[in-house]
């Protein structure tokens, strides 16, 4: 099975930072529809620090790097997104201590562990209209490809597809967690900015690694334009 090198994971993180910084205002605008409008800025504040401190981050192995990123995200991303996203990186980092490459199967396990950690930290479940509604189907796709063809490009494309679909699938739902849950019914018929962010990151990864894919959800098309 194809290995994913540390270099590729580093590229993915730098691409993620670029995605988040480019969409700082757009993600906040989306959050403003039902939440408190700070999501894009909060996320960008943290990823700007990662960008600025990139050269000093410990890259002796994948786990050490992800644990450091977890600390920076937890510390600098404002609001509840910091510990939520930070926990995801922490769980992925704990599974990759000392590793310089991972298989697709291991990548799926990293995401699976991140999902468990995020659920434990924030208490959200599938259908609560949070980023988990994107991450859980993405995890399913990674597992299926890891068990099946082992094709990294196809796995990434289907993962991006799953996150893209999550935007429209959850649009009509009422948020049950996070700030948007406080406005109840008003959160229906607005996209969840966390789900849009995950879909945008995956779409940008597709582009970075040369995987052809056209966005479907309107917000994703706008965020990757």
């Amino acid at each position: 099975m194809a290995e994913i090198s540390q270099d590729n994971i580093e590229r993915a993180i730098r691409t993620t930072a670029a995605t988040v910084l480019r969409n700082e205002h757009y993600f906040s605008d989306l959050d403003g529809l039902a939440g408190d409008g700070d999501f894009g800025t909060s996320l960008a504040t943290g990823f700007r620090v990662i960008d600025n401190e990139w050269d000093t981050i410990d890259k002796s192995n994948i786990g050490a790097m992800l644990l450091k990123i977890s600390m920076l995200v937890s510390k600098h991303v404002g609001g509840s997104s910091g510990p939520i996203w930070g926990t995801g990186f922490m769980k992925a980092g704990m599974l990759t201590r000392g590793k310089e490459s991972v298989t697709l199967d291991e990548l799926a396990d990293m995401l699976g562990s991140a999902i468990e950690g995020i659920q434990a930290r924030g208490g959200a479940q599938l259908g609560d209209k949070t980023l988990l509604d994107a991450l859980i189907p993405v995890h399913e796709q990674l597992k299926q490809h890891a068990a099946g063809d082992g094709d990294l490009g196809a796995a990434l494309c289907d993962a991006a597809q799953a996150a893209d679909e999550a935007i429209d699938k959850t649009r009509s739902l009422v948020a049950h967690r996070g700030r948007a849950s406080q406005v109840g019914e008003r959160s229906a018929n607005t996209p969840d900015p966390g789900i849009v962010a995950i879909a945008t990151i995956l779409q940008d990864w597709c582009k970075e690694y040369g995987v052809e894919r056209t966005p479907v959800a309107a917000e994703l098309a706008k965020a990757t334009a």
């Binding site: 644990l67 600390m71 510390k75 510990p83 922490m90 704990m94």
Partner: protein, 331 residues
């Protein structure tokens, strides 16, 4: 706003530097993580007791570091949880073969930061556990909590756990003591004025000249209600009623009674309140074994006070009696 502040962003590290310089034989200061530990570090034969939370509650947290109390503590910015890396470094700096107990006041930000730090430290092989303190009877859920808030009762949890650790109790035993104190301690506060975080420069909430906030949180969070100020006895009656009926405490209980100043109230006013609280406790049939009047957990310069009752038994009385040495002391 008139305050003794240089750069508001440096307020926390500057006061921590002062605490460290004033206690050279007692404390060691790590500016990078806003962390203060006992000089000489942890003792591998004893459980380490650590804490860390937002600043603005002094002497709570860092000023409670010293033999018989905390092993170490880190500070966040004023009223903000410490970052995960500071919590993680605090656990590492206090790592002991006998284990580490983290006493966390129940606020979402603090819990999330310590949760992550505890997980990371556990993965490093450090034997570390958390315990959440929630003694405030004012409200069931609050601005930054699911469940009750941790306030001045925090002092008793630290004191009892610190003494137990000093006596060589193991991690299970220290945790059981934390649980016993937390289950038997209740607090409620009242604010006469708001307070001004240095970096904000303006009051965190508005309170009319003739108004008080009953059940206020130590970050200025709303309590039970806002009402017109009456007099010291009436306010003390209301706090005593709310606190004593909560567990409830029973006639014949041996108790510690605390009147804690929130930062801007003179000690004399606290003693006016203590006199009333003392009489109420006696009338209720409580036996006051120990009393505490002063500042234990504050909210910057907020004028106000909280009343805490802790139900004692022989074990807790001995732990409260045990010697301790911290930066917060008056001789």
């Amino acid at each position: 706003m008139k305050k003794f502040v240089n750069d508001p962003a440096q307020f926390v590290p500057e006061f921590m530097k002062g605490i460290a310089l004033a206690n050279p034989d007692l404390l060691a200061f790590t500016p990078e993580f806003q962390l203060i530990t006992r000089k000489g570090g942890p003792d591998n034969a004893k459980v380490s007791v650590v804490q860390g939370s937002g600043s603005g509650h002094e002497p709570a947290h860092v000023m409670a570091v010293g033999p018989g109390m905390l092993t170490g503590a880190c500070q966040g910015a004023v009223f903000a949880a410490p970052p995960v890396d500071a919590c993680y470094e605090t656990i590492k700096a206090c790592a002991s073969d006998a284990g580490v107990i983290v006493l966390v006041n129940n606020y979402q930000g603090d819990r999330m930061a310590w949760d992550m730090a505890t997980e990371m430290a556990s993965a490093d092989g450090i034997n570390v556990r958390q315990f959440w303190i929630n003694d405030d009877v004012a409200v069931e859920d609050s601005t930054w909590t699911v469940g009750r808030r941790g306030v001045a009762g925090n002092f008793f949890v630290i004191k009892a756990c610190g003494a137990a650790a000093e006596q060589g109790k193991n991690l299970d035993q220290v945790e059981a003591i934390a649980d016993k104190v937390n289950k038997n301690v209740r607090t409620m506060g009242v604010a006469l004025t708001s307070c001004i975080p240095p970096a904000k420069g303006t009051p965190i909430f508005e309170l009319g000249d003739d108004e008080i906030e009953v059940g206020v949180g130590i970050h200025g969070e709303p309590g039970r209600r806002r009402e017109k100020i009456t007099n010291a006895d009436a306010i003390t009656d209301e706090l005593f009623e709310a606190v004593s009926k909560d567990i409830p405490f029973n006639s014949g209980d041996r108790i510690a009674l605390m009147i804690n100043g929130l930062g801007g109230t003179p000690i004399t006013e606290l003693y006016v309140m203590y006199a009333r609280a003392h009489e109420l406790a006696e009338k209720a049939g409580f036996k006051i074994v120990r009393n505490y009047v002063g500042e234990y957990c504050t909210s910057l310069e907020m004028a106000g006070a909280s009343l805490t009752i802790l139900r004692l038994d022989a074990e807790l009385e001995a732990l409260l009696d045990a010697p301790a040495e911290t930066a917060a002391r008056i001789f």
